[in-house]
């Protein structure tokens, strides 16, 4: 990666961050806005908008992105990052990332940079409405440890790519982009505090749902050496996430539920343990096997797709009555 990839805001920490930093010997950064987090916040806040070329870097293969939802690849897609709480979350994220050295110089390039910037423009109403797509292709380990998280202009993102956020909540940053960040070396609490409320109040925690290709979540959260929300390349932290259950609906829609067992040590008593639901959802593609289902028709008669084998079925989804779309 050429140094041109680093914005001025991240130049110093990016260069200083050891690319090969591994687990051990690194102290988890606890929440302390007065510490390095605030320092990095200052740096990032001064960053300003990214030049266009930065945003479009790494989007050289839009087709690959479409096909990237496979086991050996991951299209990571983040929802909107918005709300004033994002600034706080971002501050901690940046501080922890940089201080822990979990970000390699490579992975800190435009992707993370832009993701963070999105955090910090959270007060801008226009930005609030703009989903940020983070995209990385490679194995999960590459993605989390050394590959390039890419932030692209949403408009550039292929139509087929899912856009995932938390449905119907104020929560921000529950997209997989944050998981990717969190997986580096951060307690998953960073995801939980993605609300517009003030941290740290237990009341802000709520069940958050995030969606993304199952391969990403599977790779991230179910791989050896990975506890939910953390990657094996991350140093130990005080937050432990447990995969609580796996109520799989179909092979294409795996849902992992995670619960924070322990949060930040000293803050533990102040914070309720929230559940997270990670829902890996992959849009169907031609030649995929259609997920089977059994549903009631308008006469409450059960219709099962598998009973219709041998016939061509046209299945059209339409929005519920009196809803937009």
């Amino acid at each position: 990666m050429s140094s041109a990839f680093f914005s001025p805001a991240f130049g110093v920490p990016a260069v200083d961050a050891p690319a090969e930093s591994g687990p051990g010997g690194l102290e988890p950064v606890l929440f302390d806005p007065g510490d390095s987090g605030a320092g990095e916040l200052g740096l990032v806040s001064r960053g300003g908008p990214s030049p266009e070329f930065e945003l479009s870097l790494g989007f050289s293969d839009p087709d690959g992105a479409v096909d990237g939802v496979e086991d050996d690849g991951a299209v990571v897609d983040a929802g909107a990052f918005a709300g004033s709480g994002a600034v706080l979350a971002g501050a901690v994220l940046v501080g922890a990332c940089v201080s822990l050295g979990g970000w390699s110089a490579v992975s800190l390039f435009a992707g993370a940079d832009s993701a963070f910037r999105t955090f910090f423009v959270g007060s801008d109403p226009a930005a609030r409405q703009t989903p940020v797509a983070i995209q990385g292709v490679g194995t999960f380990a590459e993605l989390l440890c050394s590959a390039l998280p890419m932030v692209n202009n949403p408009s550039e993102f292929p139509d087929r790519s899912p856009s995932y956020t938390v449905p119907g909540s104020r929560a921000i940053g529950t997209g997989s982009a944050l998981y990717a960040l969190a997986s580096q070396n951060l307690p998953l609490i960073m995801i939980a505090i993605g609300t517009s409320d003030t941290f740290p109040l237990a009341s802000i925690f709520r069940t958050a749902t995030a969606r993304g290709p199952a391969s990403f979540f599977r790779g991230t959260f179910l791989s050896p050496g990975v506890i939910c929300g953390r990657s094996s390349c991350a140093p130990a932290a005080t937050t432990k996430i447990k995969q609580a259950s796996n109520p799989v609906t179909t092979a294409h829609n795996e849902i992992l539920q995670c619960r924070i067992l322990e949060i930040f040590g000293s803050l533990e008593s102040a914070v309720a343990a929230p559940d997270f639901v990670f829902s890996g959802e992959i849009p169907m593609k031609v030649n995929d096997k259609a997920p089977d289902f059994t549903l009631q028709d308008e006469n409450e008669k059960e219709i099962a797709l598998k009973d219709l084998r041998g016939k061509t079925v046209v299945l059209f989804f339409y929005p519920k009555a009196n809803t937009p779309g």
Partner: protein
């Protein structure tokens, strides 16, 4: 076989079907499980507010149970013709 699917209740769909005199079956996916399984849940903007709902999507599922064709971003108007045209061209035909 033409199947419509939405998050409405069977009752609401019966009403809808009767009022519109729809010649096909409507399925009730109240908890949106099937919609999620097919990945048609999308975020939409409604008056600047984000809502999470079903995106109009049509799947043609072949006799082998595999997805044969997907119509995304379906517009209500003219879609039936579009699908019919596809099916006519499709060698497998439709029941």
């Amino acid at each position: 076989m033409l199947l419509g699917i939405s998050a409405d209740t069977p009752k609401a769909q019966k009403k809808f079907k009767e009022s519109q005199e729809l010649p096909f079956t409507l399925l009730a996916d109240a908890d949106k499980k099937v919609a999620e399984a097919f990945g048609v849940m999308k975020e939409k903007n409604m008056y600047g507010k984000k809502v999470w709902g079903i995106a109009r999507t049509t799947f043609v599922i072949g006799p082998d149970g595999k997805i044969q064709h997907i119509f995304e971003k379906v517009k209500p108007d003219g879609h039936a013709e579009e699908v019919l045209a596809y099916l006519k061209e499709s060698p497998k035909g439709v029941d």
